[in-house]
């Protein structure tokens, strides 16, 4: 089946995710599309970034050549300083995550299930993988948002009844933002509800790209970015 309209590019996807951030929230962004979200924080919203590298509050990525090996994010990228930073060790960085002090984390995914299970760390084909802080974030953040392409490169749906890849966490995802849809995970195994669609996409075309059952919100709207 061909797409009824172009899919959103990564920047637009990140823009939509960034609309979820509340003023003053503490946010931890995973590697990839999630990191892009920091470029699109709405005006008037002040965030506090947390990184597993032992940092709360930071400036944008350092300009090329300005890198300081003692100021990095969890992806190993060099950051610029900002007034009001705090540094701490890994035990404390993860105490913050596990203790429920992170308001929102945005993570990429290989699969998300109908009950909000997340698989994002292990590709069976490789036979070995990095778990990093993904399981801690999945278990600990108050709110887990998945930002990903709706389908794999080969077109395989990534939103599935049950994850077939090894799990990162059970029932942890609360919102899925993809390049064609925004989908809520209802509490207590209530399933998935489509709440927004990309321009030119309707519930049927999104469902045909989704293996899990999708309920459709009576207030289904087109994704907006303002």
């Amino acid at each position: 089946m061909t797409d009824p309209a172009p899919r959103l590019d990564r920047d637009v996807l990140a823009m939509r995710v960034a609309r979820e951030f509340g003023d003053g929230e503490v946010v931890n962004l995973g590697i990839g599309i999630p990191t892009l979200c920091s470029d699109f924080v709405p005006p008037g919203v002040q965030l506090m970034y947390h990184s597993e590298s032992g940092l709360l509050n930071c400036g944008p990525l350092a300009d090329d050549g300005d890198g300081n090996v003692d100021l990095i994010n969890a992806g190993g990228q060099f950051l610029s300083p900002i007034p009001g930073m705090a540094f701490f060790d890994s035990a404390e960085a993860f105490a913050m995550i596990r203790g429920g002090h992170i308001d929102v984390t945005v993570l990429g995914a290989l699969q998300v299930s109908a009950t909000g299970d997340l698989s994002n760390w292990f590709l069976p084909a490789r036979g070995v993988g990095n778990v990093g802080g993904a399981m801690d974030l999945a278990a600990g953040a108050k709110r887990v948002i998945v930002a990903m392409e709706h389908n794999g490169r080969d077109g395989t749906p990534k939103i599935v009844p049950e994850c077939t890849y090894p799990l990162t966490g059970r029932g942890c995802v609360s919102l899925i933002v993809t390049d064609i849809a925004v989908i809520e995970v209802l509490p207590d195994g209530g399933g998935l509800r489509l709440i927004e669609h990309a321009p030119g996409w309707d519930a049927a075309s999104i469902r045909s790209n989704t293996e899990a059952v999708l309920q459709v919100s009576p207030n289904l709207t087109e994704i907006t970015l303002v």
Binding site: V69, D70, G76, F88, G129, A139, L167
Partner: protein
């Protein structure tokens, strides 16, 4: 005698690490906070059959993770390539890129190196528990996943938790910015990461530092790792002396 934990050189600092030792290696994965010269000395020491514990198993060479451009990374790979490592305990053991495997991944695929994969927060907490005399604890991390396979679980307050044990080491090789002669340490920026919990978890903790100062040279409010956790300190000589280029 005035307490002075200074050791004169890196070879001497690691001289009693021997075959089968369990060795923690500090840092996050990039150049910052990593004990480069202690790792090189351990390579020269030649002890084999080591278990190494760290956030990564050496990922910088294939990816440049956390290293400035143009500088050759030095990390756990120097030990792995030298055939000294039997087992790795880490959260991020392999390169982020499937097509650029690190030395560990090659050894793992060849069946030469065993892996215990631990979520990053659980890894830090298990070290912290070891240092703090906590034998085991219940964490929500990894509940319901394959990384909890074979582990005890318990429902507390309606939520499932996994029981994890303290993680000790014979030696902790860590890196700080400044030490005083008593062994108090101060770090720089995001280079703390695993160094403080490892300092507490190691039976013998050896700190590679940029500078050793007299007691009082570190503000007592700025001591990040108190001297009680540190057995040996060794100062990095200038690159011109070692011939090793470091960032």
């Amino acid at each position: 005698m005035p307490i002075d934990k200074t050791v004169n050189n890196f070879d001497e600092a690691v001289s009693d690490i021997s075959d089968g030792s369990v060795v923690m290696i500090g840092g996050f994965g990039g150049a910052g906070g990593m004990p480069h010269l202690l790792m090189l000395a351990l390579r020269d020491n030649g002890a084999r059959n080591l278990t190494i514990i760290g956030n990564t198993a050496g990922i910088a060479a294939p990816t440049g993770f956390g290293w400035p451009k143009g500088v050759e990374p030095i990390d756990h790979a120097v030990l792995i390539e030298n055939g000294q490592v039997a087992k790795v305990i880490a959260s991020f053991p392999v390169s982020g890129s499937v097509s650029r495997p690190n030395a560990f991944e090659k050894g793992f695929r060849a069946g030469e190196i065993e892996l215990e994969l631990v979520p990053q927060g659980t890894l830090a907490e298990r070290m912290r528990a070891a240092g703090a005399g906590i034998a085991a604890f219940y964490t929500p991390t990894a509940a319901g996943t394959t990384l909890a396979d074979g582990k005890e679980t318990r429902v507390i307050g309606g939520r499932e938790y996994v029981m994890e044990y303290a993680l000790h080491a014979d030696f902790a090789l860590i890196r700080a910015k400044t030490a005083d002669t008593l062994g108090n340490l101060a770090y720089a920026g995001t280079s703390r990461t695993f160094n403080p919990p490892m300092a507490a978890a190691g039976k013998v903790t050896i700190a590679e530092v940029d500078e050793i100062v007299a007691p009082g040279g570190i503000d007592p409010e700025r001591v990040d790792t108190p001297s009680i956790y540190v057995q040996r300190i060794v100062e990095r000589p200038p690159s011109s002396e070692t011939g090793v280029v470091l960032p």
